[in-house]
Subunit: 354 residues, 2 copies
C-alpha cells in the first residue's frame, strides 16, 4: 500500500531555497524506498515576495497551507537592517503566524554532538538532548504596545501570556518524550524573578510529574542553564521551557554542538488539528545566500522529524543514519548540493543494503 | 588628606560571608596604602536571617543602608527548593528591591579571559568586554499576576515595562563606556519578536549614536548573541541590553571566561542619588558553603569596581593587577582564605614597590 501525503513547501529567503532543494532530494529518495509519496506544493513567501508584492501571508494562502499534511520551511528573513522591511514584520506576520494559527505548541529542537564535528567547547562530552520549547504563548504573543510613542515619555510594554492550558499540554508532551528517552526532565525558567508565570510552570510540572513516576525532574534558572550548556551539556536529556527561553537556549545548543547548520526543528501540533511544520533552526543567512555553500544538514534533519511525525519512523531513522554517516566521513568543505547528494546516496545505499 | 567612606556590608548567605571576608581583607590592605578609610557597617540580611526572624528588608534598614557611600554584597539565597522560602521572595524583596530603590540602572559586568584560566571553550581568544545591563526596569519590574490562580483556567502574565527615560540613561552610559574603550557598542535585544520594546531600544540607540561619532554600533538578536558568545566572544567590546537578556548573557559570559568565580559586578547609580552596590555575579552556592573553598576573586574584583566608582581608581587598578598576577600564578586548589591572602599580599607588594 502506498501512503500518500501532501506537503506544503515554503523555501523562503536567502539560503532557504538552497537547503530545501537538498532536503526534498533526500525526501524523494527515502520516500521511494518506503512506498510513500509526497505531493509537494511550493508556496512563495518571505521577504523577497513581500518586497515584490506587498503580501506577507494572505488569509487564502494560510487556508490552503492548512489543508496539507505537513509543511517544510527553509528560512524567512531579508537583509538585516533593510529599511523596506519593518522590524519583526515577517517574523510576526508569517513565521510566528504559522506557528500560532496552526497551534504548533511543541517546538522540538534536538541537539547531538558528533565526534567528527568541531565543537567550540573543549570537552563537549556525549551530548544528546531535546529542547521542548513552548511555541504558542509566553512573551511571543505580541501583546503589549507603545504609549506616548516617539516622545521622551514613551512607555513600551511586552506582555508574556501563559495559560494553564498552554503550559500543561507542552509539559505533558515533554514528560512523555523524557519517558521514552533517558527519563530526565529539566524545567528551565526564571521563577525567582518572573514569579507569576514561574509559579504556573512549576506548579504544572509538579502536578504532571506523578503521571510519569520514572522521570526525574529538576529545575534550572535560565541563566544557570546557559552555564551548564557550556560546562556540562551532556547532563541534559529533555528540557522543557517557555517560548523565549527556548529560543535562546536552542541557538546556544546549536552553537555548542558544532553549528547551527546541523540543528533541525519541528513545530509540532501533537493533536493534529493542523499540519505541523519542519524547519532548520538557522535563518536565511543573506551573507552566504546564492553561493551554494550553506550546509543543508539541518534542513535534511528536519525532513527526518517530519517523517517521524507522519508515522514513517523507519524512513526517519534512515535519514538520521545517513546524516550521522555523512558527518563521520566529513573532510573538506563541500557545496550545499554535494552534501545533499552524499546524504541521498547514503540513504539509497542503506535501502539497497536492507 | 585622608578620604573617609562609609560602607554597608551585606555578607548574606552561603558562601557570601566567606568571600566577603576576603574582599574586605583586600579592601583594608589597599585602603591603607591610599590613605583612604572605610567605616564598615555589617547588615545581617538574607535567607538565614529571614528564616530566623521573618524579616527580609525592613524599611528602616533600607533607610540606613541608603545613608552609606556604597554597598558591598556577598550573595543572597537559601537552599534551592527550601519549602520555607517562597519562590522569589528574597530576590524580589531584598536583592531586586535594593537595585530598584537605589536606582542602580547600570548593572556593570566585565568579562576577561586569562590565559591561565581554563575556559570551557577551545579557543576563547582574547576576551575583554563589559555588559551594561539595564538594572531597574524591563521584565524585572514585578508587574503581572495570576488570574484564576491554581485552576485549570489560570492565566499568568509578566509585563515588561520599558521607558524612554530608563532606556536612554543606560544607553548613554554604555556609549560613554564604549567611547573610553575600544569604541564598539553592541545592542542585544529581540526586536523581531518583542517589537514594542525593541522599537524603543533601537530608536534610542540610533538617537544617541550621533553624540558618540567614534563609536561603531551594531545589533544582535539575543539568540544570535549567545552563539557569538561561544564562537567569537573576542568580538565584543561593550554590550548594552535589557535586564533579562543581561542576566542571561552575563552568566554565559562568566562561564566562557572560565568561571563565575571570577565575575565581578557593580549595580551602579551613575547620578549618585543613592549608594551603588557591588557584588560577585555568582550566588550563595549552598552546596559548597561552609567549606572555605569558594573562590573570592569575584568578590575582590567587585571591590575594585567599588573603588573605581568612589574615585580611587589607582587603588582599583592595584587590585586588578593583583588579581591578574594571582591568576597567572595559579597552580593547585587553594582555600578561600589562601586566595584572599595571596591577593592582599600582592597588593601590599605592589604598594611597597611603588
Ligand atoms: C525568526 C524568529 C522569530 C525565530 C524565533 O524567535 O522563534 C527564530 O529565532 C527561531 O528560533 O525559530
Ligand atoms: C538572583 C537573581 C534575582 C539575580 C538576577 O536575576 O538579576 C542574579 O541572577 C543576578 O544576575 O544577579
Amino acid at each position: 500500500m502506498t501512503r500518500s501525503f501532501s506537503l506544503a513547501v515554503i523555501p523562503g529567503d536567502g539560503i532557504g531555497p538552497e537547503v530545501i532543494s537538498e532536503a526534498t532530494r533526500v525526501l524523494d529518495e527515502v520516500a521511494r524506498a518506503h512506498d510513500v509519496t509526497f505531493r509537494q506544493t511550493p508556496y512563495v513567501l518571505g521577504a523577497e515576495h513581500y518586497l515584490e508584492t506587498g503580501e506577507v501571508l494572505p488569509d487564502e494562502t494560510l487556508a490552503e497551507i492548512r489543508g496539507h499534511d505537513a509543511i517544510l520551511l527553509g528560512a524567512i528573513g531579508g537583509k538585516p537592517g533593510d529599511p523596506r522591511l519593518p522590524a519583526g514584520l515577517l517574523e510576526r506576520s508569517l513565521l510566528l503566524r504559522l506557528r500560532f494559527e496552526l497551534d504548533h505548541y511543541v517546538n522540538l529542537r534536538p541537539t547531538k554532538t558528533y565526534s567528527q564535528v568541531d565543537s567550540p567547547l573543549r570537552n563537549p562530552g556525549d551530548v544528546d538532548f531535546v529542547v521542548v520549547r513552548e511555541g504558542t504563548e509566553g512573551p511571543y504573543v505580541g501583546n503589549g504596545g507603545r504609549f506616548r510613542a516617539d516622545t521622551p515619555h514613551e512607555v513600551a510594554t511586552e506582555v508574556s501570556l501563559n495559560t494553564a492550558f498552554g503550559v500543561e499540554r507542552v509539559v505533558r508532551d515533554a514528560f512523555a518524550r523524557a519517558q521514552a528517552r533517558r527519563k530526565k526532565l529539566t524545567l528551565v525558567h526564571k521563577t525567582n524573578v518572573l514569579v507569576h508565570s514561574g509559579n504556573l510552570w512549576s506548579r504544572i510540572v509538579a502536578a504532571v510529574a506523578p503521571e510519569f513516576p520514572d522521570v526525574t525532574v529538576d529545575y534550572l534558572h535560565v541563566d544557570a542553564a546557559t552555564i551548564f550548556m557550556v560546562t556540562d551539556p551532556a547532563r541534559f536529556d529533555v528540557i522543557v521551557t517557555d517560548n523565549l527561553f527556548g529560543d535562546i537556549l536552542t541557538d546556544l545548543a546549536g552553537a555548542i554542538s558544532g553549528g547551527i547548520g546541523l540543528a533541525a526543528s519541528g513545530n509540532i501540533n501533537p493533536d493534529r488539528t493542523a499540519p505541523s511544520m519542519f524547519e532548520p533552526v538557522h535563518g536565511s543567512a543573506p551573507d552566504i545566500a546564492g553561493q551554494g555553500i550553506a550546509d543543508p544538514t539541518a534542513a535534511i534533519g528536519s525532513v527526518a522529524l517530519l517523517l517521524d511525525h507522519l508515522g514513517v519512523p523507519e524512513a526517519a531513522a534512515q535519514i538520521d543514519r545517513a546524516i550521522a554517516a555523512d558527518i563521520s566521513a566529513r573532510t573538506g568543505k563541500r557545496t550545499t548540493k554535494e552534501v545533499g547528494e552524499a546524504i541521498a546516496a547514503r540513504v539509497a545505499g542503506d535501502v539497497a543494503g536492507e
